[in-house]
């Protein structure tokens, strides 16, 4: 645990990639194989289950620091992080232990079977033995939100260096949910992935937004253009008589989408398809909102399956007849994919992502501007001869999204943020005017202001608070902000009747008075005009 804390300190105090990679490699060289496996799992977000409930941790920490629970909550609002709050509240004392990372994680996992009183003993015992940053790292483990300031790509880089292997290969080997308790370095980094781990997805190839002028891409005929749809990016894998559906977030979603199960009857063994899972009914796409609701459900009922059925809009084929074809040109992979969708498609649950034909870039640009009319988010641009790469890469694939919708809202509530923004009021709720000239909250937004603007707003909020409700403050309706968002859908869960997709602050409209903000009617007209039939 000491070495892992040192690693944490080194990574935390640097912003330089090579220093972080060096620190990781150094750590891998120092610790046991078990520790390496647990550390990798933690670092790439493959976290252990939270051993105890947050509410219990709060209770015990308050008790140990001799403060009432309301005061604990106030501290938490300010620190903005549960692990940090507990660390700061417990008194400094000398550290006394020499357990390794995997000792601690195993001990925590075993508490699952214990009574509450026994759990409390285990946790408070650790609290008395750990101190400083080690206590903080420990608290991060038990609060289940461990993030360390290294990307997965960086861990892959360090592992490739440590194992003297290839980054693409390591990235593939780390895919999916694996349990560090059940792996060794040999099994995790096995050479023959498709045979040993037939459930494992390929690392997704992700596109950057197009930054330069579209004409810098050269001849439009060298490119495949597809509509950019809003769904869940996923891979369908059929190997060894088993079918798996993985999301880009590396969640196994097979059970969430039983529709795809039937593909077992039609797909040949050794097939991996990349695409977007989209709700689709009566020959038209439904809104992402409906899919989100479906994902949120614990049980997939027949009712849900008939109300919000899904399809996969397929745009790539990564494996065919058990052969990894990612290095082949896209045009070749698409040809095979067309064949799959045409001939191996039980229940027509696979739809081919159409390649759109434009003679000139200007025509494509026109499509993009009006994308919402076609029910899409814009265009995906892919070089015809591009291989299927690993992770987010520039050059061969670009996303070219249409501009966001915008509306002017009045700041109504503010709440302090987390992490870098702890102790500052940075989470805002915005409102528009309703028919009775009252302010109706319609969205929250967290980002979009500069650090300087955040501090300016924070000062203003502290001086113009009307009421405090726990961590939330209502403020004088005064400031107007232009809110941008990618989508708008009807919602019965929100007072305003709409739910926004990816709302963020575009601009602080210091030139506008609160009275000049938009109305709920204008908001609803966006709903009407921007959703195709």
């Amino acid at each position: 645990m000491k070495l892992f804390t040192n690693l944490f300190n080194e990574i935390d105090s640097s912003t330089k990639t090579n220093i972080k990679v060096e620190a990781l490699v150094h750590y891998f060289q120092l610790v046991s194989e078990e520790d390496i496996l647990y550390a990798i799992a933690l670092l790439i977000g493959n976290r252990p289950r939270r051993p105890v409930k947050t509410s219990q941790l709060k209770l015990w920490a308050a008790e140990m620091s001799h403060i009432p629970s309301w005061l604990f909550d106030d501290c938490y609002y300010i620190a903005g992080d549960l692990a940090e709050t507990i660390t700061l509240l417990l008194k400094e004392h000398p550290s006394s232990h020499n357990e390794s990372l995997h000792d601690v994680i195993k001990a925590l996992q075993q508490t699952a079977l214990l009574s509450d009183e026994e759990k409390k003993n285990v946790i408070t015992n650790y609290w008395q033995r750990f101190t400083g940053n080690e206590l903080f790292v420990f608290n991060k483990l038990i609060t289940g939100n461990f993030r360390m300031g290294v990307s997965k790509q960086l861990v892959v880089k360090a592992l490739a260096k440590f194992l003297q292997s290839d980054e693409t290969k390591i990235a593939h080997q780390l895919m999916g949910k694996w349990n560090p308790a059940e792996e060794t370095l040999a099994t995790l980094f096995s050479d023959d992935i498709t045979a040993d781990k037939h459930y494992q997805p390929y690392p997704f190839y992700l596109a950057y937004p197009l930054e330069d002028d579209i004409h810098t891409l050269g001849d439009i005929n060298d490119w495949i253009l597809e509509a950019k749809l809003d769904g869940i990016r996923g891979q369908i894998i059929y190997r060894a008589n088993e079918l798996y559906v993985w999301s880009r977030g590396e969640d196994l979603l097979t059970d969430k989408f039983p529709e795809f199960e039937k593909l077992k009857n039609s797909l040949p063994a050794g097939t991996v398809i990349d695409g977007e899972i989209i709700p689709f009914k009566d020959n038209r796409f439904l809104s992402f909102n409906e899919l989100q609701t479906r994902i949120g459900r614990k049980n997939i009922t027949t009712k849900i399956l008939t109300e919000v059925p899904v399809v996969m809009v397929c745009f790539d084929l990564l494996e065919w007849n058990g052969e990894d074809i990612r290095h082949q040109p896209l045009s070749y992979r698409r040809e095979l994919l067309e064949n799959v969708v045409k001939n191996f498609n039980e229940n027509k649950i696979l739809i081919l992502s159409q390649s759109l034909h434009f003679d000139k870039w200007n025509e494509a640009a026109n499509y993009r501007i009006n994308a919402r009319q076609y029910g899409t988010e814009g265009l995906m641009l892919k070089q015809k001869n591009s291989p299927y790469e690993t992770g987010r890469k520039r050059g061969n694939w670009w996303k070219w999204k249409t501009g966001p919708m915008t509306i002017d809202g009045v700041l109504l509530y503010a709440q302090s943020g987390h992490g870098r923004r702890a102790n500052l009021f940075t989470d805002y709720t915005f409102a528009v005017w309703d028919e009775q000239k009252k302010l109706l909250p319609f969205t929250k937004a967290y980002s979009g202001l500069t650090d300087k603007e955040i501090i300016e707003m924070d000062n203003w909020i502290k001086r113009n608070t009307i009421e405090k409700f726990g961590p939330v403050r209502s403020v004088k309706p005064y400031h107007v902000f232009e809110i941008a968002f990618e989508g708008i859908a009807e919602s019965t869960r929100h007072k305003s009747g709409v739910a926004l997709r990816f709302p963020r602050i575009l601009r602080w409209r210091k030139d506008k008075h609160a009275e000049e903000a938009n109305t709920v009617e204008e908001l609803r007209s966006l709903l009407k005009n921007n959703n195709h039939e």
């Binding site: 105090s13 620091s65 403060i67 009432p68 309301w70 005061l71 106030d74 501290c75 300010i78 620190a79 903005g80 992080d81 940090e84 709050t85 700061l88 509240l89 008194k91 400094e92 943020g417 987390h418 992490g419 870098r420 923004r421 702890a422 102790n423 500052l424 650090d451 501090i455 000062n459 405090k468």
Partner: protein, 330 residues
Amino acid sequence: MITFTDKGIYCKQGNFYIDPWKPVEKALITHAHSDHARYGSKQYLCHKFTVPVLRLRLGEIDVQAIEYGEKLYINNVQVSFHPAGHIIGSAQIRLEYKGEVWVISGDYKLSNDLLSTPYECIKCHHFITESTFGLPIYQFQNPQFIYNDINHWWRTNASEGYNTIVLGYALGKSQTILHSLDKSVGNIYLHGAVANINDSLGRVGFHFPGKRVSEENNKLKIERAFISAPPSALNTTWLKKFQPYRIAMCSGWMALRGARRRYGVDKGFVLSDHCDWQQLNDAVAGTGAEDIYVTHGYETPFVKWLKEKFGLRAHEVKTFYSNEESGEDL
């Protein structure tokens, strides 16, 4: 005896204000930080060590100096100033009239920074306290440990060929740090804002190490040195001439990870001229006061705590004091 008005804390009997934020006839000043010592009043009264800095900031003003413990009568109100331990010359103001005693503590700390006259606990009936760090997550180490850490960091940086820039409020923190620096490590340089304050304090007998960085010595090669600067110097081109450097921020807020990351400095030293949670509790208990007035900071939770835990009559008071550590000067 005391009312809280829109001009500031007012003593009706004595007809004077304490740290008013609007111009008044007579202003008693606890210390020279800008949110407590404002421009435009006719007459000022402050501790003698505060006079030169007050003049530096407010220009030619009518100011009367007073010693710690010296008694003075203003319209039959007995007035005395007592060490607050916040910065050089900072004072708690004690008022007594017909047996009723108030203490207005301004900004203060109980820990000893080795430079300013240490805080003195004054018994009173009514105690006005700030609450900048009035939550139990704030537990500050003894400043002497922090000075050691700073010296150690400077030594490490110097041995690796880096300059060391330490940001701290120009009045108060910069002097305590300079006072405790290990001068054997290397040369010490000062930002103009710090040098100005040091010059003023020199007039009342306080002297600090360090050379002002000015036009004349601009071309000087500065290596492995220590540079004292205010937080406002962060992200300015002024820092360029010290490259390569490592930079740290000294503030009570550095106790929070979020704040440390927000400043984007290499290191955060938790060094404050304010009370932490324990010190605030000790101060309140020490005064024996039954009425506690809580101002700038976490008033709401601290008031609730004092009522619940100690059964005190605690009151929330809205003032316009910010504090130099709130980050507003960044």
